[in-house]
């Protein structure tokens, strides 16, 4: 008899607590104030966008911005789940590679009517960026930033190997013997007994410092690793980009590149994929386990502000088809299922405005899309003694930067490519066979 009241009492208490906690993620209060949710993935950029959010709130006191950050690895699955559940953020960072999937399912808003209505100036963006977001006459995002990829190296380890840093500015590479690039990587690899990779007796099974660390989990375009080398070898992803429908992953030029990278692993110059740790490349480099890496410009501040290790950037090596860097661009998209689209547009407009992009530029974490802001970012980097010249050199040459594949079915393509390459890195499939299977599957998606 004593039991029932206490049980019921607890239940009522819990129910009351539950009901009081019952509010879902509503962004309204009754006095017209609106809170917009804004999603991004690069955590180093969150403070920069918080600056923008504060400035925006000062101009629009009845709109508040709540920034939500999810790391890259889960950003897209998270977003797609939220879109499907109907609970996606009002505005989210969109990538050139992923936006066609959202557009095809009518999940993002066409901004063209807003752009025309408010006479948004599109000429102040870097050339080519704004048009990437237009499909069938509709505009699905305004350019936010751009990036490029370069070599990053541990200056002390390079010096200890007796290599002149100046020689890193003009490296050559080819898939057959690796060119200067492989010689450098070999020289920078050190085994437990202090022998270097280019010395006889180098013990590839007991390596203390790897010559290079690569992000082999690099999506459909190998943006931070193989993609750059493949294109430098003359490889092209698609029949046409953007919006091609026929991939060419079975091109031997790509297979050669992949095989060369796998070769580095086999020789002990690159860490084995079966032991790839939870640490990102930057942590591996920071701990001294590797001497060289490839990094995107969005990681610049992370590397260059490291007080313990002296990092520097150098341009990517030039391959048989010249030097090429993946250049990606992001925008901000408005979720079609959001409840406050007009306010969301105000925020997106602000994000694409010189005022916000200059605030972001000052933080020296990324290159904003507006030309003047991009230049200001470069100065901001310089004033913090961060030398970004390598990125500038790479992208100033016409034709040097290439666009990552931009087609429908982006998520499926990325997963197929990653699974196929995983099998190669783990030694379970040969590059040629794996890539042929990948290509067949991927092209089958477009039928």
């Amino acid at each position: 008899m004593r039991r029932a009241p206490t049980l019921i009492g607890t239940a009522l208490l819990a129910a009351a607590a539950a009901l009081s906690a019952c509010s879902s993620s509503s962004s309204d209060s009754s006095n017209g104030n609106v809170t917009l949710r804004y999603a991004l993935w690069v955590d180093t950029q969150a403070p920069a966008y918080q600056d923008c959010a504060n400035a925006f709130h000062a101009d629009h006191p009845n709109i508040k911005i709540k920034i939500e950050q999810t790391a890259w690895a889960e950003y897209w699955t998270n977003l797609t789940t939220e879109v499907t559940a109907g609970t996606a953020p009002d505005v989210f960072t969109d990538s050139v590679a992923y936006y066609p999937d959202f557009q095809a399912n009518n999940q993002i808003v066409d901004l063209e009517p807003y752009v025309k209505r408010d006479h948004v100036d599109l000429s102040h963006f870097r050339p080519g960026l704004a048009d990437l977001w237009v499909r069938d006459g509709k505009r699905y995002g305004l350019p936010k930033d751009w990036d490029a990829v370069a070599l990053v190296y541990n200056a002390k380890l390079v010096q200890a190997a007796g290599v002149d840093p100046a020689s890193l500015q003009n490296l050559t590479w080819n898939p057959t013997d690796g060119g200067d690039f492989e010689k450098l990587i070999a020289k920078l690899s050190v085994d437990d007994h202090g022998r270097r990779g280019d010395q006889p007796g180098f013990d590839k099974n007991h390596v203390k410092t790897y010559g290079i660390v690569l992000d082999l989990d690099a999506g459909a375009g190998g943006q931070t690793s193989w993609g750059n080398l493949a294109v430098a070898n003359g490889f092209q992803f698609l029949d046409k980009n953007p919006f091609g429908t026929h991939y060419k992953y079975d091109d031997p030029k790509l297979a050669e590149t992949i095989a060369w990278i796998k070769g580095l692993q086999d020789k002990g110059y690159l860490g084995r994929y079966s032991q790839h740790s939870s640490l990102g490349s930057d942590a591996v480099l920071a701990s001294g386990r590797a001497a060289l890496g490839m990094a995107g410009s969005w990681m610049a501040s992370t590397y260059l502000s490291n007080k313990k290790v002296d990092f520097a950037f150098a341009p990517l090596p030039a391959g048989p088809a010249g030097r090429h860097t993946a250049s990606n661009t992001l925008s901000d998209a408005i979720y079609a299922g959001g409840k406050h689209k007009d306010q969301a547009w105000e925020w997106v407009k602000f994000l694409a405005s010189p005022k916000c992009q200059h605030l972001v530029a000052k933080r020296a974490v990324v290159f904003p899309a507006i030309k003047s802001a991009s230049d200001e970012a470069l100065s901001a980097f310089r004033s913090q003694h961060m030398d970004m010249q390598a990125f500038v050199t790479e992208t100033s040459q016409p034709g040097a930067s290439f666009l990552l594949p931009l087609t429908d079915h982006a998520a499926d393509v990325a997963e197929t490519v990653q699974n196929g390459l995983d099998a190669v890195w783990l030694g379970q499939d040969s590059p040629g066979d794996a890539l042929k299977k990948v290509n067949d599957h991927v092209n089958g998606l477009f039928k």
């Binding site: 029932a4 819990a14 607590a17 906690a21 879902s24 790391a71 559940a85 939870s278």
Partner: protein, 296 residues
């Protein structure tokens, strides 16, 4: 004490060693988790593996409990995302308590009806319940998700608790078996006395059933506390996010795409504390309850 041969003595020592090693292996990872939670993130690379960190700190706990500023969190190795594990702890507690109370009551009533009350269709109902024991949860998970979405209950507590609040075949089965085994005399006597079935249930049978009720409550509590996939799918908003789902999300917020180990271990410690308290205060009853579920 019987006289032991050398062989028996050796055997005994080996056996005690086996248990000792198992206990150490069980406890060590948990201790290591706490040790990591007390380590500043920068020290992780220092190659120090002592049992106690060189510079113990509470910053990681403060970070996950939302007690530091975004900048301080980032400086300490986090991603700067605003976390509030106290809120998630509250949500987990609500989820667990509501389900335990709701299901225990509801299934006790059902179990009693199936054990003691005579009515048409009793065998059919019981048979259906038992039959559904064979259906794996995944099969009803997807349609339940769609149903909860259609009801507009995503990101609400009603949506979270709905599928398991009122029944689970196992609980009904277990309690029905138990009620069958209570001697009828007490109930018969109360019936003759003029009591209604309902009154008998509440005033006579339930108080007698403390042990199995505790066992079922405990099993349900442990199950709800550990539940991951359903709360992950349905409780996405801050107000309904439970600890397990929050851990999953926290993992996703790793700075620079690598895990925030010290923060993760601090958050994980929080999921271990309530069970640990339960063990400390109810250890004996817990241990006995486990045997009860399996054997009966």
């Amino acid at each position: 004490m019987p006289h032991l041969t050398t062989g028996q003595r050796v055997g005994r020592t080996v056996a005690q060693l086996v248990v000792g090693v198992t206990v150490v292996l069980t406890v060590f990872p948990v201790l290591w988790m706490v040790r990591t939670a007390l380590t500043p993130a920068g020290d992780l690379f220092g190659d120090s593996y002592g049992l106690w960190p060189h510079h113990p700190t509470l910053i990681n706990f403060k970070r996950v409990l939302g007690m530091t500023s975004s900048a301080a969190a980032r400086a300490a190795g986090g991603s700067g995302a605003q976390l509030d594990f106290l809120l998630y702890l509250r949500n987990s507690l609500i989820y667990t308590i509501v389900i335990v109370v709701g299901q225990t009551l509801s299934c006790a009533m059902a179990g009693y009806a199936l054990a003691r009350l005579r009515f048409r269709g009793r065998t059919a109902v019981f048979g259906t319940f038992v039959g559904s024991l064979m259906i794996p949860p995944i099969f009803t998970l997807l349609p339940n998700f769609a149903l909860v979405k259609q009801l507009g209950w995503l990101d609400t507590f009603p949506g979270l608790v709905a599928p398991t609040l009122l029944m689970s075949p196992f609980s009904v089965f277990f309690l029905r078996q138990f009620f069958l085994s209570i001697p009828r005399e007490v109930e018969e006597a109360a019936l003759l006395d003029g009591a209604s079935r309902a009154r008998i249930f509440w005033s006579v049978v339930l108080p007698m059933s403390r042990a199995p009720l505790f066992t079922i409550s405990l099993t349900l509590a442990v199950w709800s506390w550990k539940d991951f996939l359903w709360p992950l799918l349905v409780g996405r908003a801050e107000n309904t996010r439970v600890l397990t789902a929050a851990l999953g999300v926290f993992l996703q917020q790793s700075p620079n795409a690598e895990p925030d180990w010290t923060g993760l271990m601090a958050a994980s410690t929080l999921t271990v504390v309530p069970p640990l308290l339960l063990l400390i205060f109810f250890g004996r009853r817990l241990v006995d309850a486990v045997g009860f579920t399996g054997v009966k």
